[in-house]
Subunit: 485 residues, 2 copies
């Protein structure tokens, strides 16, 4: 029997956990902070990964694989990098029965081992650019974890590129953020804000970090992807020089960029409802489920009819589940498949069979349509495209409705109020306001309200005239303020 | 300039390393025994993985992901398992700045953490079977390593299935070995011998291990994949019981099966030659390279002509590289692309352009064909299929020519002789003979000659009448004896 899901308004955090566990997307593991990704959750990750991988290859990138184990000394070669990551490291001290001469850390990210290797691969400008990516697991020893959104071990991709010039590296950083932005909207149905991180929030070792930020249903922000311009920091730390077109030695320019299994959590949190999982059709393991509705005296005819509909949908290229289990009722099955997030349910009972019809039900809106069986494949395509569009539109409308311009600190206080457990009555959202660029303002905001600067949207930095909404000093940037995951 | 490759007959081990490094398939890393898989090597792994994954899904399996970190105590729950793996474990003792209460090992294989989790997922026969697989990295602290063939960290897939009955689990074990066997022949062009491992060589914790065994060009065996019938060993170790159809509690039956990046090494070693890499067209990153042959006074025309040929090949679905670099000579390029293992080279010079021809050269045989440009796409398909077939035929002929029936120990001594560095003059191969099944015979063979029982071929166990070729006692099995990687 389908388990009960805590409503969003009662306890948003518990609602999310209930969905992840009951839809069998993931499970807890015996290792603190690590999770098991179950087949239904992994199927979402696989589809997401394959689509993103295609987009990386279309922009000229190739995959490779570097060791997971990194000599501890490597991390120390870039001062900010080690400061940022050392509190989160897991360390291998023994192997093969012996104590190691030098401890090895499990990669929290791979800049160090990759730039140590790039040194051997780059001698001249002719060897550049290197446009490489790897799909890998990484480990960051997090204190507070949450299924998919923050786990000690997670799966991700990390792009690491090497360039002749600063300009080329900056363009790559921008290009990859734009790949993420389009992917988030087109595939994940996540409307995101693309912008630059503040100094305090940037990647440890980067010159600049760009991010895309999405809004969850409790109005908190989720950082959904980052792209870093690393300048020559890692080239200098690992002494990676090349002979440039003028015949002089110069340090190589770098970028890195990544997204992770956290995106699966973001998708679940953004689209799901109190009945269970809702996912964009492009990511769904099954796009449709066909449920024959029969009694013992008409079972054979109804099954045959429904099977014919399912086969026609499959022949048209759809991913289709067929639920002919006779140990549970149609009503139970409807609830179960809604909980699992299948975008379209197709019902076929004896009257439908007699009339040559099926009933199609949208998961996102609950809308029911009676359709001629022969038209089911065409209608399925149409509905799936409509759902994909609606999820993005709905998420964008929600975000826009919960975004407010703020001019001063009182407006911020009024907007964010106190945190609550439920979703609807939770205050806040995205506050958009001017900022002086000062670290003190940012720190005060975080201390007072747990609100941080998510990013400074690229498309809203023109005509900055006014004062910082936090301190009243002349403003330099327009920023998005929010609580976040 | 293309680097020199050590000929196979001079030093087979060095020849292999030269190919891996010069074709930029992999590189050494700063961590002992770990390697970097470079884009050209990873492209082979990706194609191999995707094709195998498709075959897993076609046989009803789903992917999932379990944590890489396993509590040390889990390994100890299955007695043979811990004995087999404990010498190879890497251990995390510190994380997040603190000493861990219990050390965590990096998975050498995942039976323990998976069966610990299956306990929560299996209550009744209705929950069975579980047909799960994961693609993951694993770590085994090996003393002697070799690029791709044996590395401390490697990439692999591990299937872990759970069944109601012994019979069903045995059938799954056999089914997956057959998936591997067909895949090895159809995709990797590796003719393999499928059979059962001896007690001494089986997986630590298995009831039975089945393997596929290939022959490399130095006549040594490579274990290319294994499928294990685990009986109820792990279910008992982790107390995984279910209510069976009779309403009684019973332990769950298990299998596991895996192949790894070692297969990439096996492909390289089997097909390559003294000019460099040779790979089956189905695995090649580029199936063809088009090389325009121009001088300064005809460059534009020849480039345009060659580009047209390349575009026509691409339009026909081929993966095509186009080498219009003007800083190296055609001869240099021919050698370079041969070294890289592109299955078909397409040359287009001014005379070809004038006549509407191209020259196509097979990497496997060196055969040259003059082909009308308009027919190049059809000819390319034909040649690639012919190469795929020829590589398998050639490898099978080599194996068969180096397989010998042995009746007594003197025949074995004569066949295996002493190991040498070169390939052609190395003695041995696959010796096929009768075996009493005794561990002492097996141990003596290994001590005397470094020869082991590779497996007992499934299709050669009928009518065993005779005496053990090692000790003269009555025989029980027919076995393949060989030196191995």
């Amino acid at each position: 029997m389908a388990e009960k899901i805590t409503p969003r308004n009662v306890d948003y955090s518990q609602w999310y956990i209930d969905i992840v566990l009951n839809a069998k997307l993931a499970d807890y593991s015996p290792v603190k902070g690590c999770m098991v990704i179950r087949p239904r959750g992994y199927a979402i990750w696989e589809r997401l990964r394959d689509e993103l991988d295609r987009r990386f290859k279309d922009t000229g990138h190739q995959n490779c694989y570097f060791p997971m184990l990194i000599p501890e000394s490597f991390l120390k070669k870039e001062a900010e990098h080690v400061e940022g990551f050392s509190p989160e490291l897991a360390v291998v001290t023994h192997a093969g029965g012996d104590k190691l001469d030098e401890p090895l850390v499990l990669r929290p990210t791979s800049e160090t081992i990759i730039w140590n290797t790039y040194k051997n691969w780059i001698q001249s400008w002719r060897d550049l650019p290197l446009l490489y990516n790897q799909w890998a697991n990484v480990v960051r020893w997090e204190k507070r974890t949450r299924l998919f959104l923050r786990t000690t071990e997670f799966l991700w991709q990390e792009g690491h590129t090497a360039h002749e010039t600063r300009q080329e590296a900056v363009e790559e950083t921008e290009r990859m953020l734009e790949v993420y932005r389009k992917f988030a909207e087109e595939v994940l149905c996540l409307p995101v804000i693309a912008g630059k991180k503040s100094e305090a929030e940037k990647f440890a070792g980067a010159v600049d970090t760009y991010s895309i930020e999405a809004m969850m249903q409790d109005k908190k922000a989720l950082q959904a992807g980052t792209s870093h311009f690393l300048g020559q920091n890692f080239a200098k730390a690992f002494d990676v020089q090349f002979q440039n077109r003028d015949g002089n030695l110069d340090y190589v320019w770098a970028t890195s960029w990544g997204v992770s299994t956290r995106l699966v959590g973001g998708v679940i949190m953004t689209h799901s409802d109190d009945k269970g999982l809702v996912v964009p059709p492009l990511l769904a393991q099954d796009e449709l489920v066909v449920i024959p509705i029969f009694k013992s005296d008409n079972k054979a005819e109804v099954l045959a009819y429904a099977k014919g509909v399912a086969d026609a949908l499959k022949a048209d290229g759809r991913r289709v589940a067929f639920d002919d289990d006779d140990s549970s009722s149609p009503g139970w099955k409807f609830a179960e498949w809604e909980m699992r997030g299948v975008p379209v349910r197709v019902e076929a009972g004896p009257k439908d069979a007699a009339a040559g019809n099926v009933v199609m039900v949208r998961r996102d809106t609950g809308e029911k349509l009676v359709v001629k069986a022969a038209e089911a494949p065409a209608k399925a395509r149409e509905l799936l495209a409509a759902i994909q569009k609606n999820l993005l539109d709905r998420a964008r409308a929600f975000r826009d409705a919960n975004t407010r311009a703020v001019a001063d600190y009182q407006a911020i206080l009024d907007f964010f109020g106190k945190e609550t457990a439920g979703a609807d009555d939770s205050p806040g959202g995205f506050a958009e306001g001017l900022w002086c660029g000062g670290r003190d303002c940012e720190a005060k905001l975080k201390a007072d309200l747990k609100v941080t600067i998510r990013n400074m949207p690229f498309d809203r930095q023109k005509d900055i005239n006014g004062t910082c909404c936090l301190c009243g000093a002349p403003a330099k940037h327009r920023a998005i303020f929010a609580r976040s995951y």
